[in-house]
């Protein structure tokens, strides 16, 4: 029997062992492989910051679904980035409570300070600016989310101070969020 050599890349050449293990864990708690799609995208994004076409193809192969199907999932969600993003992605809440509490002045201050518009990344690769629907901090509007942190009761000055703080000490963003109960 003749073995046909293919040139299709193998996901194992692309995804790390850690990524595959984490994705397989997600698969194990669902009924079908495809149902781990969104979790798989989040796993790979946590290692690589965004989902490239190569990442998408590798995950689709691992989950035994078509890349087109996974693309339909990936592009459906706000928090899956299909383009490269900066180290910190700023998600400004633009929903109704923040609107009534003048998030626009915060947004304008951030755009002017970073010299970027929505969808753009600063030249030093530190910040990408995106909008977000209601972040559930309506009693403390305006709010924004950077990484896993929610920043509330923003003013233009406060928002810029937060960005400057992150630029000076990028590690603080990950240090802020801990499970408080013992």
């Amino acid at each position: 029997m003749q073995i046909i050599k293919t040139v299709t890349p193998d996901y194992r050449d692309y995804l790390s062992a850690e990524e595959v293990a984490e994705i397989e864990h997600e698969v194990s708690i669902m009924e079908t492989r495809e149902s781990a799609g969104i979790e798989a995208l989040k796993v790979v994004q946590s290692y690589r910051d965004w989902i490239s076409d190569d990442s998408l193809n590798a995950i689709a192969q691992l989950l035994a679904i078509s890349p087109a199907q996974l693309e339909g999932v990936a592009t459906f969600y706000n928090l899956i980035y299909r383009q490269p993003v900066g180290r910190f992605v700023i998600h400004i809440c633009d929903s109704i409570s923040c609107h009534l509490n003048d998030y626009q002045s915060v947004l304008t201050a951030i755009k002017n300070h970073l010299k970027i518009d929505y969808g753009q990344t600063t030249t030093d690769g530190m910040f990408t600016l995106l909008s977000n629907v209601c972040l559930g901090g309506c009693d403390k509007a305006p709010v924004m989310m950077i990484g896993e942190n929610h920043y509330q009761q923003l003013t233009a000055e406060k928002a810029i101070a937060i960005l400057n703080g992150l630029r000076q000490d990028p590690e603080q963003a990950t240090a802020n969020i801990e499970v408080e109960h013992d």
Binding site: Q83, D94, S97, L100, Q104, L107, T128, C134, E180
Partner: protein, 478 residues
């Protein structure tokens, strides 16, 4: 950290949902048990049959707190039950907690998720036992990172103490509970879209019937309940259906976590007996309007409810009364519009949200919501025509219930249609004067100044022709 027991008992009877909330440091499993937790679960598993639990929940008149207000007992009673030896029994039935809280102006579930995660775990044990589900998922919105960590911690503790897993507390009942974090899409809160999302599919809503209780997740019987709805269950089982009904003076039972946001003095969340008046909520609890502002209108239960006016202030916040006033209780969170914020800009902001979050499956929603945004933007920018108001009214008809695949577009219609009716003068003024009369000077918060880049487009008669930065909303994805 636990107060004296008499005070705790009193609170547990009047503020069941929130008396154990601690946002700084939620109770560990042991502290939660010490404070009276898992009593309901113990009672259900050891003393009651699933049918008896179902009867208590049905008797309690608990209605869904996610927005639709569907009776929980009735929803559960549609789940097929099987004898243990029945060959036709599916391998799994599913319970799913809808924690995809993304309705703008709604932030109540977050308090329960972050503040008392064990209450939800206990609730899911009892609820899964009742419908015979052995697998359960908490479908959590991706932005609630702290909730995810605290829930996982609570679940790990529950597994370690045999409240989850095999033979729970020495019974035959087994349950696996998982947290699924989403990645940001409003439509996933629709229960059939949520099921598609859990299956790893693009999260378009499904046609009903079949209803999820019969054929839901992976084609198996599935119940989807909101966080606040489920959180009531341990207390109903612990204290009884009559206690729950007696919590509220009117036809709707229990307490409700009400909220207020917008430019009020003290925005926040309060657990109150179902049916407090809007006036009490707004003026007693939220402290009334901020200085220098007057109440112009409000949405009583999130972005997808109809506006109400100051004349409706004495309406009780329960399902029937708010319905009779022309709106919906929804999630019970007031979004308050003051007289210095432009109602046209507010409706435009809401419709932009619905247009962005439309899944695109059905034409009325996919094409209708962006067109409403276009027409509202024209009016807001002073380029509107009177015919646009008729077009908007037509859209409200095209996107109404029965003409769309799910409730998203009708949800968008509710604030739009009511605004066209109640704030007609404001819309007409925008069109007649060719500008927005809510100028930056009047707003008193520098709001209009934010749109400095639009200085060129200023009209002679108007301070500032835009209320909002129209050019926003870009995305890096897709």
């Amino acid at each position: 950290m636990i107060e004296n027991s008499a005070e705790l008992l009193e609170k547990s009877l009047t503020l069941p949902l929130t008396h154990l909330v601690n946002l700084e440091r939620p109770l560990s499993l042991q502290d939660y048990i010490t404070a009276g937790g898992y009593v309901g679960a113990k009672k259900a598993l050891h003393e009651l049959s699933p049918k008896e639990v179902l009867d208590i929940v049905s008797d309690s008149n608990l209605k869904g707190r996610g927005g639709a207000g569907f009776p929980t007992g009735m929803k559960w009673s549609c789940v097929p039950m099987f004898e243990e030896a029945d060959e036709n029994a599916p391998k799994y039935k599913y319970l799913v907690c809808n924690a995809d809280e993304m309705e703008p102006g709604t932030f109540k579930d977050r308090m329960l998720l972050e503040g008392v995660p064990h209450q939800l775990v206990e609730a899911m044990i009892i609820s899964a036992f009742t419908i015979g589900a052995n697998r359960a998922y908490i479908f959590l919105r991706g932005e609630y990172h702290l909730s995810a960590k605290r829930l996982q911690k609570a679940i790990d503790e529950a597994y370690a103490d045999n409240w989850l897993g095999e033979n729970i507390q020495d019974t035959n009942f087994m349950l696996d509970l998982y947290v699924h974090t989403s990645a940001g899409r409003y439509i996933c809160g629709e229960e059939t879209a949520l099921i598609n999302a859990l299956e790893g599919k693009r999260a378009n809503p499904r046609a009903k019937p079949p209803f999820p209780q019969v054929s839901g997740l992976f084609g198996k019987p599935t119940v989807v309940n909101n966080v606040e709805t489920l959180s009531n269950i341990p207390h109903i089982i612990k204290h009884g259906a009559q206690w729950f009904k007696d919590l509220s003076p009117n036809s709707d039972a229990g307490t409700k976590i009400y909220a207020a946001c917008g430019r009020v003095k003290n925005p926040g969340l309060w657990e109150l007996p179902m049916g407090v008046t809007i006036r009490e909520l707004l003026y007693t609890h939220a402290g009334g309007m901020q200085d220098g502002l007057n109440l112009k209108g409000l949405l009583p239960g999130g972005a997808s409810t109809d506006f109400l006016l100051p004349e409706h202030l004495d309406t009780p916040m329960d399902y029937d009364s708010i319905g009779k006033a022309g709106s919906r209780l929804g999630t019970g969170g007031l979004i308050v519009l003051d007289d210095k914020n432009c109602p046209v800009a507010m409706v435009l902001n809401l419709l932009k949200f619905f247009a962005q979050e439309s899944c695109g499956w059905c034409t009325p929603c996919r094409d209708g919501t962006p067109w409403a945004v276009e027409l509202l933007s024209r009016i807001e920018q002073g380029q509107g025509k009177m015919e646009d108001l008729d077009s908007l009214a037509d859209l409200c008809d095209f996107m109404w219930l029965g003409k769309t695949h799910c409730a998203l577009a009708p949800g968008a219609v509710e604030p739009l249609k009511s605004a066209l009716r109640y704030f007609k003068e404001d819309f007409e003024q925008h069109i007649e004067q060719g500008c927005c009369s809510y100028s930056s000077a009047e707003k008193g918060n520098g709001h209009g100044a934010a749109t400095g880049k639009d200085d060129d487009s200023k009209d002679e008669n108007c301070e500032d022709i835009r209320c909002e930065d129209i050019g926003n909303g870009g995305h890096a994805h897709g």
